[in-house]
Amino acid sequence: MKKILIVDDEPSILMALEYAFKKQEYEVFIARDGSEAIEILKTKIPDIILLDIMMPKVDGYQTLQIIKENENLNKVKVVFLTAKSKKADIEKGMDLGVDKYFTKPFSVKKIITEINLLIS
């Protein structure tokens, strides 16, 4: 079973994505900010992480950095989900080694197709 970690501080988005990926038979972990995500990653190693950027406490960039610095985690694919759509923001994410970039508002169907493609 494929494992996915979804990190977002918007409860409605979190809920929609959790429901959609569970339907696709993923094992889903959810976190409401970066620090929660890092806490979960200590015990679980997912195949892919969906990461929001603008979050309280620890934001998406910081979380990504921590993931990339961790030997156990640096093979895990990371996808950014964000309302930030400026070119500079996208480039910043790419530089940090993110695999894919989805801008909000997104189509849930499209995300599922892309994610499936990424980890197959």
Binding site: E10, P11, A16
Partner: protein, 890 residues
Amino acid sequence: MSNFSLIIIILLYLGFLFFIAFIAEKNKRSKWVNNPIVYTLSFGVYCSAWTYYGSIGVAAEEGVRFLAIYLGPVIAAPLWIVLLRKVIRISKQHKISSLADFISLRYGKNRFLGALVTVVCLLGILPYISLQLKAVSETFEIMTQKSNYISNSILTDSTFYIALILAVFAAIFGTQATDASEKRRGIIFSVALESFIKLLFFTIIGIYVTYFLFDGTTDIVTQFKERDNFSSLVTLGGFEEGFNWFFTIMLSFIAIFLLPRQFQVAVLENNREKHLKTAIWLFPLYILLFNIFVVFIAWAGKINLGNEANAEYFTLLLPLKEGNIFLASLVFLGGLSAVISMVVISSLALSIMISNNLIIPYGFLSKFIKNEPSKNVKFIKNIRRFAIFCIIIISYSIYYSFSVKLSLYSIGLISFVIIAQLAPSFFIGLFWNRGSSKGAIIGILIGLFITFYTLLLPFLFESFSYKPSLFSINGLHPHALFGIDFLTPPVHAFFWSISANIFCYGYFSLVSKGNYRERNYAEMFVDSRNYSDLQDNAFVWKGEAYVKDIKEVLMRFLGNERATRALHIFFAKYNLPKNTQFADAKLIHFSEQLLTGSIGSASAKILIQSVVKEEEISLVEVLNILEESKEAIANSKTLKQKSLELSNLANQLKLANEELLEKDKQKDEFLDTVAHELKTPLTGIRASTEILLDDLEMPNPVKEQFLNNMLQDSERLSRLINNILDFEKLATDKHELTVQNQDISKTISRTIKSLITSSTDKNIAIIQKNNQSIYLQYDEDRMIQVLTNLISNAIKFCEPNSGLIEIDYFLEENNLQITITDNGKGVLEEDQDFIFEKFYQSKNQNTIKPIGTGLGLAITKQIVEKHQGKIWLDTTYKNGAKFHIKIPSI
């Protein structure tokens, strides 16, 4: 006192002065030597033996008239700043070394004029120096109590030796540099010291006579009143006497500028212009102090010594009569000081004129061209030393053969009248650019002739007891020309000579135009402020000259090394290549200036002219060139100003641009944030809709959850849009407040009422602590918005059930202050500085996702500020959050 011990005292005193001059010369840069006090005291050289002894003579015989000669300098004092400053500036710029040089330069470096001025000064000053020697000799006689001291042979006359020592003193300290425009600090410092000593000793004897020999001033006056001629001595006389006063004051006014010794100390030895500001008040004060006791000593002498004694020496005779030899010696030394300073400075000034304006330009120039530089330097110094000795020896012989019969006062006035002949060409020439050398020369000659006829001739004839028949002709009597017989002889001579002088100067200046060089210098002098900017450019010259030839001449006087260095500096200043071949006007001017200090301006001109080929330029051309250089300077000034304005403008533009960029960036950021904030709820709505559409078998409770989320997100979306529009409206000043007179108490209760649902939901109490009606001007809807924002924030951060929100208000000065206090968790210190910023949301809110839009407090702040008010968080309040709002109540 014995002859011998007096000579010892004199020698000791002279030795002391030598020592002081030597020390000052060695420390010429010290603050003790260069200060306004020393400068002002050196002016005191004006008060010679004539003042020291002569004034008392005049006061005793003629009453207050002695004062006239000191009123001139006092009246002149305010003019110094203007006149003297101008003269000092010109002299420094052109390296002028004497009065003769100054006048000769003004009239185009005229050689004859320089020589004539020198002769006038010699005629005027030599008798004056002899007068000083006479004073030494007579006081020596009184001190040693010998009758008729003048001995049978010069060699046994101690005055002769004193004169020689003074010559040595002047020669040593006065001729150290070949460049006569160099300062002589040693001599000036000793002169200043002597000025102090003579004033001190004169005041001491004044106090001694007035308060020890008599019972103060009133005692002297009452005793003296009993004499029959008292009233004539203290009144000023009638209309005719007024003329005497007027012209005597004018005479002394001229003297304070033009006596060679005054010109030397005031102009040539001035090393800082600002010292004038001290001299302007301190020197009149000095003169005042010198004159306080004159009348009292004079009258005291008359009372104690009778009419027989020589009134000029009352200061010595009074203490001697009482047997007070010590005090008499002090007075003697004071008088000696007055003599020394006058003789030394005068002979020095005259020696420079003799060398630079008489001997060198008339005879030694060709010799200089052939000589080695070191020989020339020695030669110039020797001419000056020789001149000093000649001046003093000639003065001594004048004294020896003539002056026995004349009083100090009358010789002094003769000198003044002769020197006054230079006044028209000096003063008028400073302000009238038409004044020409021809006018100056004829004016001076005529003036001299009249002075000779009206003042010197009668004096000469008188001393030979001869009365020519010419004098008996009506209207030609030397003391009463054309029947004017009410003036004293010196004033009479001054009146006629100076009138004729001025007339001739003006007339011949108008009929004859000077050559272009003369006009060139006239412009530079008259318009000195304007042309000092031009510096070397102000000199107009046209012709052909080689740098090589000019350097050759310079080397004769400065030596190879200094000449080369001077030219290097010149080339560097004007950005010329070092191997420049042809000399221009600037270099000619520069070279003449370099030589002026050593050999005088006329000689410098002649020497440089001998190696260049000069072309005639018309007057019109001179003026054109001057105008052009003036314009060029003005143009470059305008250009500079323009470029300054431009760069200012560029700076302003840059600033404005930066501001715009900053605003643009802020706008971008704002839009970015707005977009982000809008996209977030939109994403929630879209995702939920997609899932609901796709998954039709979704269980009902889950479906309900999704629909609820969608509702919340769309509410948030519309709230956000409203807030953003609101915020923008307030920020761009488009929104006007509808201000009305309102009762704050009612507004608060209305706000609380509208929030009752959300507060009862959480069971939180809202208390309005004050119900007093206070009316003031505000926009009620906006005020409700402010209060709603703050109170709903409070509700948000308070614990359910235990929450308590209190609203209070009071008037403070002209402001209404409202406080909203809650007992919630308060604002974290790290957030305190940012809570009023737009889209700032605390990272530590108790719900996972903030309910607010991040604009609430920013809008609140904007509204309060629109009311000219202030909103702030009370950071000292620890039991929750406390906000203050302050709005003006008038």
